[in-house]
Symmetry: C2
Subunit: 429 residues, 2 copies
């Protein structure tokens, strides 16, 4: 069993660096076995893992109760305890998510392109797993199952490091998941849970270039920032989602209002939420738009021209244009035309998602071309910035970096490619 | 002029970090202008740059003579001086390479895929420039033109840091190139040459996360290793090319010999050269193959069974299986079947290029699937591992990392993508 192997490693190694190194080497070896399985076999193993999560719900909920009791004793905030809490319904949701990932089309083995060279060489680029992926996350125990499932579906080993608040829950979920995967033929060491809460283990993961191929942080800003600052291993990460919606002069008012309210208020705590609204000076219904936002309970911080529209608007400070509120708070600026909007976005966007609302197709195309963010939208709410909404199935994260993958990252982003070259004895002149 | 702007920056800033920061910010601003140009305009500007390189050949050759004189005075090795030296023919070659890059198909704007969602949203992934690319290179002054041309073709700004041996040559090439680009409408600051030889400037480039989007080191192992160890910016790099060719039992002897000789001896100093030959114990002509290599001047270091074939074979040490000779030296091992060959490669390959020679299609497909290197080949010489040979045109490098791009990296590897989302007023439920 995986837990036994892990236990043995923990017994003989004391420092986190050796521990992480030993687990990563086990994972790398197991990944070869995983990659050699057929796509169907990997999917079937994930279904078994989902079954195990449901079958072992008493043990998982018992472990979760321990975490909740410890969290209450430590005085964790109610929101944190809620993120931590599991029940039969949530556990069924976690199992369903694993099944959904199992049923996603497998990118591994896809042919990206084919080239026939004049000398007879035939070249193909084929998608292959990245290798071993490290996931560093916080209190939500569902990440243990979600991230492991995505990695395994695309043939990758996973090295999981969850938060200390969820330690018992994560162990129970990992144990059930692994039992299911092993029943399905996946090597036990393909999904490893780092068995220590020593924070130095995270540092060891970030430093494990050559042993871990990519790190995915899942959690709040401080976690992601720490990972990006310290990692020697490539990181798939997003920091802020300072997302703009620009209401162009030619925006249809009912659409503008519906999109602005949805982009800001549907869920304020997600990274795709709008944080700054830009209203064109030639848009005729600016006062109604600002009023509607305030009426729905949104705090509006505006520049002088926006304040002149409604006396409930609070003055915006310079910082507001660079702030991700993740709350029912919005900075609003009036801009003089498309160029001014593009300029504001170039200065303040975090490169996550920016949108224009207009019925002017030329302005829309210019915006979609010029704005250099991972996701650019025309006449749609920025809250659609999500792997599920993009039809990718579950996502491992939304990347605001520029290399490898941008925006919602799902299975394809967990693969790389290799070149296969087929010849008939060619030598290079 | 670019040189004037650079001079001004150098005058008012003393420390390399501020200097690099100021140049990178200029480059980022210029990149927006470059990205807004049409593909045809960027290509035309590169043709003008090539014309300028030829028109200004007296100044460039004069600058090069200064570098050569300084190099001789410093006692640079003859091979180094040869890499540094320019003449009319080499300069014409550099200009021709710039024209060839100008004429490559432009990846920017290509649609990677399109998705129509059930709610009416239309998603497209479009290739866009990465942004600002830092190139850190050594003594070959042609890299100044080659790397700048590749960056500009794909809409990227370039921040160039060449070696101190080529400082005058690089400045002259950069000045001519920039004059041509500016004549063609490219913003002058889109291609910057770091105007100091202070080594701290390289450190500042490697640390410039958020200002430089990717670093490409071009040079020897120690340069690449330093860049990979110190960079906070993503690096596109390859270290060793420890490339294997496996002669399977079912290899056709004439083909096996031709490929082995070519893979090792055509050019021994390139990263695609074979460094280890694996001969199957059931291959009937092993002695002839080893003898042919030695007859052609190759030093063969073999294991016991290879030594038994020819008394000119030198004993291989454990280190030999992990050594990139870049010389007429080869390590040769006898292996017992395909599985043993795959095991040896898994332990010792650097993940660059590995090849099998066989007429057994099943064995070949197994090799192409199982070997996890950037390039895997069947019945071809590993010396084909090259962007030009792959039909990509010029290459910025060969990547042995796993993310973003693998193997020969040309224009496509200098782009990323963004998601364009077109709606009709959709809000998320």
């Amino acid at each position: 069993m995986n837990t036994t192997a892990t236990q043995q490693i923990q017994d003989v190694t004391t420092d986190p660096e050796s521990l992480v190194g030993a687990l990563a080497r086990q994972a790398r070896a197991a990944q070869r076995g995983l990659a050699a399985m057929s796509s169907e076999a990997r999917a079937a193993a994930l279904h078994r893992a989902a079954d195990r999560l449901e079958a072992e719900s008493p043990a998982i909920l018992e472990a979760n109760a321990k975490d909740l009791a410890a969290g209450e004793a430590r005085g964790l905030a109610k929101a944190m305890l809620d993120r931590l809490a599991l029940d039969e319904t949530r556990l069924a949701g976690i199992a369903a998510a694993v099944r959904a990932v199992a049923d996603l089309p497998d990118p591994v083995g896809q042919v990206i392109d084919t080239t026939d060279r004049p000398n007879g060489l035939k070249l193909q680029r084929i998608r292959v797993p990245i290798g071993t992926i490290g996931i560093v996350y916080e209190s939500r125990p569902n990440v243990t199952a979600d991230a492991a499932a995505l990695c395994v579906r695309a043939g990758n080993a996973a090295l999981l490091r969850g938060g200390s608040e969820a330690v018992h829950s994560n162990r129970a979920i990992h144990a059930a998941l692994t039992r299911g995967l092993v029943e399905g033929g996946v090597p036990a060491e393909a999904v490893q849970l780092i068995p220590t809460q020593d924070r130095a283990a995270v540092g060891a993961m970030l430093a494990a270039a050559g042993l871990i191929d990519m790190i995915v942080p899942r959690g709040g800003k401080s976690l992601v920032a720490r990972v990006q600052a310290d990692a020697r291993v490539p990181v798939l990460a997003h920091l802020d989602g300072i997302n703009h919606t620009y209401i162009h002069a030619a925006a249809e008012p009912a659409m503008a209002e519906a999109i602005a309210l949805n982009a800001k208020l549907r869920r304020t705590g997600i990274c795709g939420a709008m944080e700054t609204l830009l209203i064109d000076a030639d848009y005729a219904r600016a006062a109604e738009l600002v009023g509607a936002l305030i009426d729905k309970g949104c705090e509006v911080r505006g520049d002088e021209r926006i304040r002149a529209l409604d006396d409930r608007v609070i003055p915006a400070s310079a910082n507001d244009w660079d702030t991700e509120y993740l709350d029912a708070v919005l900075s609003v600026a009036m801009v003089d035309g498309l160029e001014a909007a593009l300029g504001h976005i170039a200065r303040h966007s975090s490169g996550h998602t920016d949108a224009i609302v207009t019925s002017d197709e030329v302005a829309a195309e210019r915006f979609l071309t010029q704005v250099d963010s991972a996701i650019v939208m025309h006449n749609a709410s920025s809250q659609f910035a999500d792997g599920g909404e993009f039809g990718l199935g579950a996502e491992i994260g939304i990347a605001t970096g520029r290399l490898h993958a941008r925006g919602p990252v799902a299975l394809e982003g967990l693969t790389t490619y290799k070149w296969q070259v087929r010849g008939q004895g060619q030598t290079r002149p």
